[in-house]
């Protein structure tokens, strides 16, 4: 027996091409069908959970407020997905159910219920994003076959939402109160709380006239 004979005997054992190709085919087909590893599965589940919780959380957080004011007032709080997430009414006779509707649909629905008039309603939009507020106003003006084109629109700073709440007034009404106070510094919050928007506008008109007379 020689070492060479043993080497030669072993050397004759070869993996043929068919076996190699079958092996590669089996490996690649298993790789494409490979189930995700447990770590990847756990990570993916955690990410989905975070995204889900984050999504639910972000859905409930309002980023804009839309105040509709005429004789009565109603405020819609809108999330980043442009959906109404909560409603505050400042008149016990107002009834509405617009949660989860898009804001244009919600406003149209409220105005169509005849609790406000398309012509006299004052629509005030507040939010951190002024560009977003302007875009919302444009969308409202052009929705519902331009029925809301003649309404009055204002955009105000986001901080005003909290200030109005503290005064127990709607955003739109509080904004008019601040405008009124500029023309008539003697006016008090209590006085305006019981006034309608129309009365406030009339008073503001008088104040404006008075200011103009004084300046002349």
């Amino acid at each position: 027996m020689t070492e060479n004979q043993i080497k030669e005997a072993f050397h004759e054992i070869k993996a043929d091409d068919t076996l190699k190709q079958q092996t590669l085919k089996a490996i690649f087909s298993k790789q494409t069908k490979k189930r995700p590893s447990l770590t990847k599965l756990v990570l993916t589940t955690a990410l989905l959970l975070i995204a889900g919780v984050g999504g639910i959380f972000s859905y409930t957080v309002p980023v804009y407020a839309i105040s509709l004011d005429e004789d009565a007032s109603i405020e819609l709080y809108v999330n980043m997905y442009q959906k109404v997430v909560s409603v505050t009414t400042y008149d016990t006779t107002l009834t509405t159910s617009v949660n989860n509707l898009g804001y244009t649909e919600a406003v149209t629905s409220i105005l169509d219920s005849n609790q406000f008039s398309y012509k006299n309603v004052v629509i005030t939009v507040a939010g951190n994003d002024q560009e977003g507020c302007q875009k919302m106003i444009q969308n409202l003006q052009h929705c519902n076959q331009n029925c809301m084109a003649n309404a009055s629109y204002n955009t105000v700073a986001n901080e005003m939402i909290a200030q109005a709440k503290e005064c127990d007034m709607s955003l739109g009404k509080y904004n008019i109160y601040l405008m009124l106070k500029e023309t008539d510094p003697t006016i008090t919050l209590e006085e305006t709380q019981n006034m309608t928007m129309q009365e406030m506008h009339q008073k503001m008109g008088k104040g404006m006239g008075k200011m103009m007379t004084q300046s002349n």
Binding site: I6, K7, A9, F10, E12, I13, L24, F28, K30
Partner: protein, 169 residues
Amino acid sequence: MRTEEDIRMCVEQYADTVRRICVVNLKNEADADDIFQNVFLKYAQYEADFSNEEHKKAWIIKVTENACKDFLKSFFYKNRISIDEIKEIAAAASPSHPEVMEAVLQLPESYRNVIYLYYYEGYSAVEIAQILKKNVNTIYTTLDRAKKQLKERLGGDEDDGEPNQRSIS
């Protein structure tokens, strides 16, 4: 996950090595083919890096040996192959030296891998101990006994000297 190119290169490079260990251990073509596929599938799924080619080769050898051992321990394997069957397998595996292959296949299971690694791959007893994760003295003893048994079956000088040393990471 290893790249397709990496897997192809590994199969090309170590197919014969894996096949030889499978045949030597399993003495059965179909079983050898199954284990052959499993070894390379394990390579494809093994994500750690090898420090060098010798390290990779040692890993392949050890994984093949383990896969064969696991198979031999399994419920399905009937470890009773007749002398005639061994003759057939040896003749098919090594047409030029069937008597040598037959003698190798008749060695106890634990001797066969050592003989293959020593004579064909050229590893030293120390290197074989490292690859198979066994005590070096056990390898020396195994080699000694295996050579004696081969000599008894084949005649001639069983010891052709220590092969060249190679480093294994």
